[in-house]
Symmetry: none
């Protein structure tokens, strides 16, 4: 699967894949600790236990390591996509999602890494695209939930469900960022978000 449709995955392939992972993990740690720009390729290689030159056998350059990390981030969204795919009533799904995603964002490393990527995205189109795609998956799934809730009469008929899902994510992620910076417990933040969002979306009785 690493190369072609078949699966001849030799030991060599496996060893190589392992190296890649070592490097990626090391890079994540470095980027978290010191930031993307402050991290040198040497730092990554050293931390990964790989020679400097060899790193370039696995990645074309520092930039591409970040790109790959951004792509891995996307996989982390899977559990939340699954939650959003559930067929329970929309408000229930929504609440469950907010709490789960909020818990995930309570880990500072997830926030910092995202900010690091966000920050690069502004000037680097490929990362920007990746980042938007990442977000889109989540937004789309969330939007679908909202639409379903509206149709089922479980949610208020908001004018633009897509914008709303964006806002829901913003409000959570913004809270997460502030909780990293100012040490407000994420738990408290999530509680407020749930209340705020529900108040905005639940239909007037």
């Amino acid at each position: 699967m690493t190369k072609s449709g078949k699966k001849p995955a030799t030991n060599r392939d496996k060893a190589t894949a392992k190296r890649r992972n070592q490097i990626l993990e090391a890079a994540v740690i470095c980027f978290l600790e010191r930031g993307y720009h402050q991290t040198g390729v040497r730092d990554i290689a050293t931390r990964a236990g790989v020679s400097l030159g060899n790193l370039y056998n696995h990645f074309p350059g520092k930039h591409d390591v970040l790109v790959e990390i951004a792509m891995l981030e996307r996989q982390e969204m899977e559990p939340f996509l699954k939650i959003l795919a559930a067929q329970s009533p929309a408000p229930k799904v929504l609440e469950k999602f907010l709490k789960a995603y909020g818990k995930y964002l309570a880990a500072p490393e997830n926030v910092i890494l995202t900010l690091e990527i966000t920050s690069e995205a502004i000037r680097q189109p490929d990362i920007a695209q990746l980042f938007l795609e990442n977000g889109d998956e989540l937004t789309n799934a969330l939007t679908a939930v909202l639409r379903r809730g509206i149709e089922d009469g479980d949610l208020r008929r908001v004018p633009d469900p897509e914008q709303v899902s964006q806002m829901i994510l913003d409000v959570l992620e913004g809270g997460a960022y502030r909780s990293v910076l100012s040490k407000v417990p994420m738990r408290k933040v999530v509680g407020s978000v749930v209340d705020f969002v529900q108040a905005s979306l639940l239909p007037r009785q």
Copy 2:
């Protein structure tokens, strides 16, 4: 003595202050164009029409230029603080604020600069503090409006008004960031925000 009391500001002082401003403005442009880390002190000096060495007569270092810019950002909040201080009914004030601040955030440079500072704040405590103080002014003013609205019965009795103002700001700023990245018009974003926030805060009839 150079600042306080009357205004003994000599020509020399004025020239010096002008230089500082030249440098700061040049730095803002550079940071916007290429980002803080990609910008060299040389770039700033050149753009400011100042010699490299002389820049260091006006600022202790690159870092401090960013700090000063962050401090200037704070002053930009003044008009919005004024709006929030108005004594009209809370929902009116709120809407006016959202539109005004949204309009301000429609300028990509304001968003990018904020992100640049945000991004440094994570690893540099002095900038973090400055950044939080900056935000606090706005949050506090907004919180006051919310409290007043609640007391007047104009707004729903939310459990934690401070968190709510944070969320309102997040939702606006997050939208602004996405509008920079994905070219969604900020106008549309602000519309959704106003609806979303009002739906959440206006009391059930």
Copy 3:
């Protein structure tokens, strides 16, 4: 006396001379603390409580400050020249001188400053000349004592009294340098020097 034979020394002249001294004293402290090359002209000016530009009204440049200091060092030799000029028996004079000069060299600042000058002397001919002249005064006076001692029969008839006085100074100054570096008490060093020199110079009975 500062300029011409007369003595119109105005207040202005006195103030200026005071400034010069302030600068020189500050420079000595800086050179001792951080070394000549590590010391910046700014450091000296700041320490002297003088503006950077003004320092250049008093001295043509950093180099010349060092030259002046080297010249002042020469004056410090006066007391020892006086000791050597005494008409007591040569061995007595010699011992007294060794102890007095040794005591002077026990102060690390005197040793370090000399080394700093010595070290510059290698590459800067004007300092080299000054330094040699400095030393020559002492050597000549010491040589005179030796010659007198030899003629009086109080000292061994050494082949080259001038070389001998050089060596006597070397042995003292070398000891002083080591005492700075390795914390051997200078007192002990001087004792050994006196014994060593006397043994070499006193005539066999």
Copy 4:
């Protein structure tokens, strides 16, 4: 493992070692010509025919280049240590040593380099230690000769043989320094030193 045991020294290792030497030799030349502080890392790299960056693959920094040179200086003492280890009568050994070491010091480069290191030693503890260790080897060997001479009755029973060996070295090195500065031939200096030292140490008949 690159060093110990047999000699697996690959071509690569050898090439690397050669580079190090090139750099060290270039550094010595630079330090002699212009002094440690006046020499830029670029100067060294250029003279060594090595790129600036690559120099940092071989040495952590400029300081460490000097340290390594100081360490190499120590090896230069080997021949003199051998002379001092000879079992001939102490006065003979002493004279032979003085002449040999004096001849070595007659080369200005040896004197200047030592002064350069000496001068750094004052402010840099690691160099100070290295420098003292260097000197100690010579002093100890010389002290041993003196002690032997005293026991054999070939030398005067001096109170502190260790101090005496220090002084002997000081007198030689001081002479060498002056011969560099004032162009007095080292030959003449050494002659005087031999006389002076012997006069001090040979027992009264």
